[in-house]
């Protein structure tokens, strides 16, 4: 067994506020049209041939509608739903207003995504602004008054705990997690609620009858590594509520995950490019999962032999950190970028629009989405690699890459 991962220490004295407007797109639409209040609403591009659900109201969620579900299926679950087309510009504008409202209250405000999530680091502002919960309540009051949204809020010693706290009180409410009670707070929380614990992890945990964060607290780092290998450190920290990641203010670069792949020989062979791309995706996926984030967008940059550089990006249906899903989005970006016959010298993969991955609670529901099959596949591969080593099995599509086996 290799050395056990060393857990990082929590940064003392931090106070992080998480504001989350539940079902943000629906909340924005309801702010503009009060008639939509208290009736099921689905946001989906109805005109598209294979429209999928972009967002839905709590009423539609209760009826079984989920993000990413085909619209025809969603409408079967919720026949009286009012369907509206998505208006990303409108939601981005609303997010900017929300962000502006929070700015006076904290030196660092992080705009996580355009889905109604904000983190505020109010550490050390007590003398000026008072207690963190008072700040959170004031922002919520202003947002409610000005925009008609009623954000869920939490105060916690780090982003991970703040995020879990808002997840457990959604769609309405608040939660204060005190510094020092991280483990006690997380103990009864289902592992699916913890950001960055992905479906393959959960499937594996269920095989060991580990369902709540508290079930994993008895496992030390070495034991976790024996089962979860390179995910062990991440899981060890997550179930203990350790997350030293900073709240990034707007003047700091948005977080991205980059992976470079220089070709040994310049190539224009599709199979080789695809193989290299998948290797990059596996690396990026691993890094995203380690950081408990998911990518909303995947970009590729191709450097051609003649010095020309082309960059293109594609959006995923939902933010993900699962390799096959990332690969699909990356292939879309490649299709946009690779329009020349000239050989390629260098490939760069960029995952951005990072956010906390959606809660994995749908695992418990009776669903049969494509993702499920992929996750089973990833789990199976992980299990084989866990037993026989990293190089025991690999995707055929990576066979042509320059990786050494």
């Amino acid at each position: 067994m290799t050395d056990a991962p060393l857990p990082r220490r929590a940064v003392p004295g931090r106070a992080i506020i998480h504001l989350n407007v539940a079902d943000f797109a629906v909340a924005v639409e309801r702010g503009l049209d009060m008639r939509l209040c208290r009736r099921p609403v689905i946001i989906a591009a109805q005109a598209a041939a294979r429209a999928i659900v972009y967002d839905m109201s709590e009423e539609a969620f209760s009826a079984g509608v989920r993000k990413g579900m085909p619209l025809w299926r969603a409408q079967k679950f919720c026949r009286d739903a009012h369907v509206l087309p998505p208006k990303p510009d409108r939601y981005e504008r609303a997010m900017r207003h929300l962000f502006a409202k929070a700015l006076p209250y904290a030196p660092r405000v992080e705009l996580v995504d355009d889905k109604g999530h904000l983190f505020l680091d109010v550490t050390g502002t007590g003398r000026l602004l008072g207690r963190p919960e008072d700040i959170a309540w004031k922002i919520r009051k202003e947002v409610r008054k000005d925009f008609g949204f009623d954000p869920v809020w939490s105060v916690a010693p780090n982003k991970l705990l703040a995020k879990v706290a808002t997840r457990i009180v959604k769609p309405l409410g608040e939660y204060i997690v005190e510094e020092g009670e991280e483990e006690e707070f997380l103990k009864p929380i289902p592992v699916a609620f913890i950001p960055g614990i992905e479906k393959p992890d959960i499937t594996q945990m269920f095989e060991f009858n580990l369902k709540k964060a508290g079930d994993l607290l008895h496992w030390n780092a070495a034991q976790l590594e024996a089962v979860f290998q390179n995910r062990a450190r991440h899981i060890y920290e997550a179930v203990r509520g350790i997350d030293p990641s900073p709240v990034l203010s707007v003047d700091e670069a948005a977080p991205v995950v980059n992976v470079d792949h220089p070709f040994g020989e310049d190539t224009n062979d599709a199979a080789i490019l695809e193989a290299a791309l998948y290797v990059c995706v596996e690396k990026a996926g691993g890094e995203l999962r380690r950081r408990r984030l998911a990518a909303g967008r995947v970009g590729v940059t191709l450097d051609y032999t003649d010095g020309v550089r082309v960059s293109r990006a594609a959006l995923g249906e939902t933010a993900t950190a699962v390799d096959p899903a990332l690969f699909r989005v990356a292939m879309k970006a490649v299709a946009l970028a690779w329009r020349r016959r000239v050989r390629i010298r260098h490939l760069k993969l960029v995952c951005d629009r990072l956010c906390y991955p959606p809660s994995q609670v749908e695992l418990f529901a009776d669903n049969e989405y494509r993702n499920c099959r992929e996750n089973k596949l990833v789990c199976a591969i992980d299990a084989i690699r866990m037993k026989f080593g990293e190089q025991a099995v690999f995707f055929g599509r990576t066979f042509n890459s320059t990786r050494k086996w």
Binding site: P12, G13, A15, G126, R127, L128, L129, G130, R131, E133, D134, A136, W137, G173, E174, Y175, I176, E178, E179, G180, E181, E184, P188
Partner: protein, 275 residues
């Protein structure tokens, strides 16, 4: 309601809330104390606290039970009623919120460690028919829970109100606050023979309406001001009630615990029992 764990005639002193980061800076807690470790340290000085972050968040039974486990068995609590029942009342949902609140504080009540639930009503809550009805309904919804009501508007300073509180065995909270127009005046009226309850908010007239708690509750009581309270009101109230509680809400710069300790000293000097 009687409180068997407290000596008859005792006056317990504490602070409104105990988890303030700047109390470390001003020496009440050692530097680096985590929030969750503050309550046991606080309990080394005081026998009671007023949980006030329950105003911001609906209390949850598991979190309440965790708090209970942190302090000695004789330590008592009062709990501030959540804002969705006092300041942000939604007619459709308040009854459900009241039930949630009761469930959230149940561990304290079941353990016999809940002295009172503090219903602090905002200055905008004036004595109208509608508000009187709401208050009556709210008290009915919280029946069985020991209640203390703090008014912020002077319209409630009326004998009819006091008589009704007396009938319901609800404690009227006496307040010390700046002498500003329309605020509820400092009184020594006792409406519940089981308990009297005083809150010291400080007398920072300039900061009171600032909207910033750091200014509103920034005040350091002089010994003479506290002595005046004891002489004029507390002694009298103690004679009419079995138990009394005094809470300091001037939390800025750890003035609340310092003033609370001073108050305990002054009470003992006069031979009054502080629990």
């Amino acid at each position: 309601m009687q409180y068997p764990q407290i000596k008859q005639g005792a006056i317990l002193v504490g602070t409104s809330g105990y988890s303030y980061a700047d109390w470390m800076e001003y020496g009440f807690y050692p530097a680096g104390t985590k929030s969750a470790k503050m309550l046991p340290l606080y309990a080394e000085h005081f026998r009671i606290t007023e949980l006030n972050n329950t105003w911001y968040q609906m209390p949850k039974a598991d979190a309440t039970a965790r708090r209970l486990a942190l302090v000695p068995e004789k330590f008592l609590f009062t709990v501030k009623l959540t804002r969705s029942l006092t300041h942000e009342v939604e007619p459709e949902f308040w009854a459900r919120r009241a039930a949630e609140f009761r469930a959230g504080i149940a561990p304290l009540q079941q353990a016999g460690r809940l002295l009172a639930v503090l219903m602090q009503l905002p200055p905008s809550f004036t004595r109208t028919l509608e508000n009187r009805r709401y208050l009556g309904n709210l008290m009915a919804a919280l029946e069985g829970v020991p209640l203390a009501v703090e008014f912020r508007h002077k319209s409630w300073a009326d004998d009819h109100v006091f008589a009704e509180l007396e009938k319901r065995r609800v404690t009227l909270v006496a307040v010390d606050e700046p002498p500003l127009p329309n605020l509820f005046p400092p009184l020594d009226v006792v409406t519940n023979p089981a308990l009297f309850y005083v809150r010291f908010h400080g007398r920072n007239s300039g900061g009171w309406h600032s909207g910033n708690m750091q200014k509103q509750f920034d005040y350091d009581y002089a010994a003479a001001e506290l002595e005046e309270w004891i002489e004029k009101r507390i002694g009298l109230m103690a004679r009419k009630s079995a138990v009394g509680v005094l809470f300091f809400n001037n939390h800025v710069r750890a003035q609340a615990p310092n003033n609370a300790l001073l108050m305990m000293h002054l009470l003992r000097q006069r031979g009054l029992e502080t629990g």
